[in-house]
Symmetry: C2
Subunit: 224 residues, 2 copies
């Protein structure tokens, strides 16, 4: 398959594909001559993954490249490869260990993870991310205790255990395993996020409809 076909089947313009090639998101095609390269289904698949992470997951290109680099680093065990993918997926946050709020929040996070018995790397960047979120909540006047966070943690664990993790083929080829993991994290993450918004709309409507506006016809969301 040549680049024009790749473009036609994926819906991604040729210059954009070239850009992804330059950026290392897409592996080079099989170059048959100076001005001819052959692409295959794996490229199409990769391209679709890239677009999904960009458009649905809103991940920056640099993040996607980090994930891909981890997949293609043959020296890594599957375990470390998945770890690298997890690391790449988290938004880096610089810690403020000298800030009192930060230290308290970090302690809360670490204690909760420990109490739950989660086997998470002590330097996992997700710990910093969660810490940052807890600090921000405090600054916004909604201080968060372990009791506030625990229901979210157990719900997350349930979903991961019973849904996400069962979908990941740990014994298959390594690239498929990471790809599935990333898809689960990003796309099912998005799905959950949207479902949460839907549930919140439904619940707040339910509560307010105890005393609704006279002719309960709420105006539809005006398009812009």
């Amino acid at each position: 398959m040549r680049i024009s076909q790749l473009s036609a089947e994926s819906g991604v313009p040729i210059p954009t594909i070239k850009y992804y090639l330059r950026e290392g998101l897409l592996p080079q095609g099989d170059q048959t001559a100076a001005t001819r390269a052959e692409y295959d289904q794996s490229h199409l698949r990769r391209l679709r993954l890239i677009r999904a992470l960009l458009e649905v997951g809103r991940l920056p290109v640099a993040t996607i490249r980090n994930v891909i680099d981890a997949v293609e680093d043959e020296r890594l065990s599957v375990h470390d490869m998945l770890g690298a993918a997890h690391y790449a997926l988290s938004t880096p946050v610089e810690p403020h260990p000298d800030d009192e709020d930060w230290r308290a929040a970090r302690e809360l996070v670490d204690e909760m993870v420990a109490d739950l018995g989660w086997g998470v790397h002590p330097l996992a960047p997700a710990r910093d991310e969660l810490t940052q979120t807890v600090v921000t909540l405090k600054r916004l006047g909604m201080p968060t205790s372990r009791e506030d966070l625990l229901p979210y943690a157990t719900a997350a664990l349930d979903l991961v255990r019973e849904q996400d993790i069962t979908k990941i083929p740990f014994d298959g080829p390594r690239d498929v395993a990471v790809e599935t993991l990333v898809i689960c994290e990003v796309l099912y993450g998005k799905a959950f996020d949207v479902l949460r918004r839907l549930a919140q709309e439904s619940e707040s409507a339910r509560i307010l409809d105890a005393a609704p506006c006279p002719e309960g016809e709420s105006q539809p969301p005006a398009p812009e």
Copy 2:
């Protein structure tokens, strides 16, 4: 409080504050003279909210303005105001009703929402967002059925019912209600997202440690 104090207390540079004022994210201060305006705690509070939505929630400035416009539109009932906030928080997605995959996915979404008995507006943009996600999952070779989605939906509803919604003061002043709702959606949403990643790391480590690498010392996430 003058602008310099506002800047000092929030950590936001003065030019950025001016930018937010221009963009309508921050209400004008109480202008006491041509070159003097007074700001108060509400401005500080709003400023912190803006930064939280920008930095933790990664919401675009335009989205934040939409939320704020809804709050400040006195004509809206609390119900409609919350609806507007929900609408503003969703990423717009243009529907493709002529696409076969899209129609099937949309049907799946609508049926699921109906079966759950959720009182969601039929034109709610979140329906489109979820549809888009389901379509993308299919394109990536992970077709999604209602059974796949349901556990996420019920978990979302549980969390909203027992955590988020209980935090929202529906009977208080309207701005506080929306503000709390937005904080819940964005910040607790972020917290859940991170917790999910932590849970996933923990679970995949647990599975792979059945047959780990010889000296199970996984390398820490290399800092860049």
